[in-house]
Symmetry: C2
Subunit: 448 residues, 2 copies
């Protein structure tokens, strides 16, 4: 390794989270202790991440968080300070953790790939000990990021090419806000309000102004002066800025905005009321005032359904907050991490309602010549790809970590974003519908 | 300051998050820039945190995250590296941020206090500039923590004194998991599965075993050996451990568990199936086998409603995952941060559906002699407490930050937990019901 590579690697590490090792449920470490004691810790195992169903009868899910999972696995290293706090463990277990590095194999779906019930999204292979303790951090990341991306992709579809901005940081945990911005961008959002996400992931940052800005501008008698607020914003940020026009009266707000800015005003934002009616009225008013190129930005508890309902209205940009960062009524993706293979033997829980297919699996998607996806097939990991029956096949399972090291040429966030956009058009057309129904594709297991 | 104090302060800081300053929406900094340019940045303002309604027609909310907000305000300091990335700001704004420290006043409800629509949960006073840029980080923390605590308190009530454990880390963002554990503990949960929460906040950590543990124990032919798994767990963790008995057949699992552990077995966990029927069957079976003190732990998508439905069943411990960390269908508390006063003048947005009461406010709660709460009154901040009409009054608004510094003797997490437990019993009895209805108390504004 050259010294340049060393420096780059150190830089990459310094921008990551600190040790991820305590983002872990206690039972993983007590199972580890029991497994070290009876020797089962060293059995070769495969764990698999999948979901049994899609939330709210959606048609598809979007894999998100893969790059963050890989970083967390690399950062899964216990510090001495952390080990001191794990006083419920014996010395054998602490010694194992002291030198712990994941040295196994991880394969899985690309970030931005579509998934369905029983898609084997991630396959983690190695000793029981090294795999079992990664459960929580892997699931936390994939469940939160995939929940956001899966909802966000539906919103992007509903927006039908109009600009769509994520602005939900204030409605979710302060660090979940950062990764939600990333997941929404992956899913096709154009920008985020969140500055840490902009810095960390290179996502375009965007923003307008709050009602507080207008309310701040009172005269000496405490009477509101909307024009003074607009004037100050334009003086500071230029005439291309977006003015928030619904603090007092929207028609008056639009009038004031164009009076102050002139017809070159960049945009107006409406954050309350019946947005369908209002956008038509505001568009007519702007056009009448000669501000024909001034854009209309709407926000106010939008989700994929209200966005779709506004599709025929003169909206230029959708600002989406709460619903995207909370997964639009599905704040977690329902992914699980299950042991599926021990020393080459498939294993599976048999309790009612939670049965799963044993054995490590890989997957392919079958497509027509037109590119439309038809079905997803899983088959034993390392086995032969199933017969394609005249369809074209695409391998869904790709290598991510080999012997504990990241594989080369993992995709960038931008590449994963482009990848998802290309995948969405492969769905059968009804698969993009917002209504509740069966998954757009079925996943069928082919034993060999 | 003595050197001991210096060291303690440094220790306190090192256990906190890094700079919180970029957990911020872009528009706050562009508003700051415009305000610095036109001089309005220095106007004395009051911002207030409140909600317009409770989610899902719940009866009350629980304030959570206050201590984390105060830490984030203390840590709201821009590093040179962060400032370099803010290349959309001019030099005047960057210079302001370079020396930024919040030097104003924060008052608010105690952590663990109950709240209702229009309760003034937090009041932030200072210049427009120093207050406006705190919006996102304050709301992110209060919205996520209060969402979890508000749901968790209902689950604790439903559990009616039975033990209740938070184990939802795998279903939410990896750092939201840590603070969700804190919020659930505040609300009366007994323990968490999350090790980072245990370390950071001193919350008891708890855990049993996963299905993977049982599945790991296959013989050389790949046939399951549940008894070997149970034996190894007991050898390592003692007979007081909790064995997961539903991997294959529950009745056989219970039989195997008692055969291996004897009647002193600590507990069995059931994670699937119809928990009402199953717990009765398992209790009868355990009793018949002489394991009369062996406890029954249930998990499997529990929420406050399913917990309540199990109240008459022989459950000893509830393990709650997804629903508590996602706020049980309300993943955000809907709190907003609004400018309510400028240079002593009350200000308020007038757009339809989002009107709010202007002016900085404090609040008191009126109670009967029995302690039962009757009503909440708000009044102008700094004004005289409203007449009590023969009720006892309790001040809800307490000082939190004075001139940028934390006030002395802020409550510990344990004290806030005890405080909430005491507050819940002051609600009118119907206020603890799980059904949808009006808020348990109304909040009325008294002008002066």
């Amino acid at each position: 390794m050259t010294s340049t590579e060393n420096r780059e690697s150190a830089n990459a590490r310094s921008t990551r989270q600190r040790s991820s090792a305590l983002l872990t449920d206690k039972y993983e470490l007590t199972m580890l202790e029991a497994a070290l004691a009876d020797g089962s810790a060293h059995r070769q195992c495969a764990f698999e991440v999948f979901t049994r169903r899609l939330p709210n009868e959606r048609r598809y899910g979007v894999v998100a968080g893969t790059a963050r999972v890989l970083a967390a696995v690399q950062d899964f290293v216990f510090t001495e300070e952390q080990l001191e706090d794990l006083d419920f463990l014996n010395e054998q277990t602490l010694e194992y953790l002291r030198t712990y590095r994941f040295t196994g194999q991880i394969d899985g779906y690309r970030e931005g790939e579509l998934y369905f019930p029983n898609s084997p999204i991630l396959s983690v292979r190695g000793t029981f000990a090294e795999c079992v303790i990664l459960e929580t951090v892997i699931l936390s990341i994939l469940n939160s990021d995939s929940a956001v991306a899966s909802a966000a992709a539906r919103m992007v579809t509903a927006a039908a090419g109009r600009s769509i901005i994520e602005m939900g940081s204030r409605r979710t945990h302060e660090y979940a806000a950062v990764t939600a911005a990333r997941a929404a961008y992956l899913a096709g959002f154009d920008a985020t309000s969140n500055l840490e996400a902009a810095r960390r992931y290179g996502i375009p940052a965007s923003g307008t102004a709050a009602h507080a800005w207008t309310l701040l501008h009172v005269d000496d008698n405490g009477m509101p002066d909307e024009k003074a607020a607009f004037q100050a914003q334009i003086d500071a940020l230029g005439v291309g800025t977006v003015l928030l026009v619904d603090t007092f009266d929207i028609a008056q707000g639009v009038k004031n905005a164009v009076e102050v800015a002139g017809p070159e005003l960049g945009g107006v934002r409406i954050d309350s009321g019946d947005l369908g009616v209002l956008t038509r009225e505001v568009r007519a008013q702007l056009d009448e005032l000669g501000a024909t190129k001034t854009k209309i930005v709407v926000s106010s508890d939008l989700d994929e359904f209200t966005i779709a309902a506004l599709r025929s209205e003169p909206v230029d940009t959708f600002g989406v907050g709460t619903s995207v960062v909370t997964g639009s009524d599905a704040p977690t993706a329902g992914l699980v991490y299950k042991l599926v293979e021990v020393e080459g033997h498939p294993v599976a829980k048999r309790a009612r309602g939670k049965a799963s297919q044993g054995g490590a699996k890989a997957a392919v998607r079958l497509c027509r010549a037109t590119g439309t996806a038809v079905e997803e097939l899983t088959y034993p990991f390392g086995g032969e790809e199933p017969a394609s029956n005249g369809f074209t096949t695409r391998a869904l399972t790709v290598p991510l970590i080999r012997d504990g090291e990241l594989v080369d040429n993992l995709p960038t966030l931008q590449e994963s974003r482009d990848y998802l956009a290309a995948q969405l058009v492969t769905l059968p057309w009804e698969g993009l519908a917002l209504t509740r129904d069966e998954p757009a594709l079925t996943v069928r297991h082919i034993s060999q």
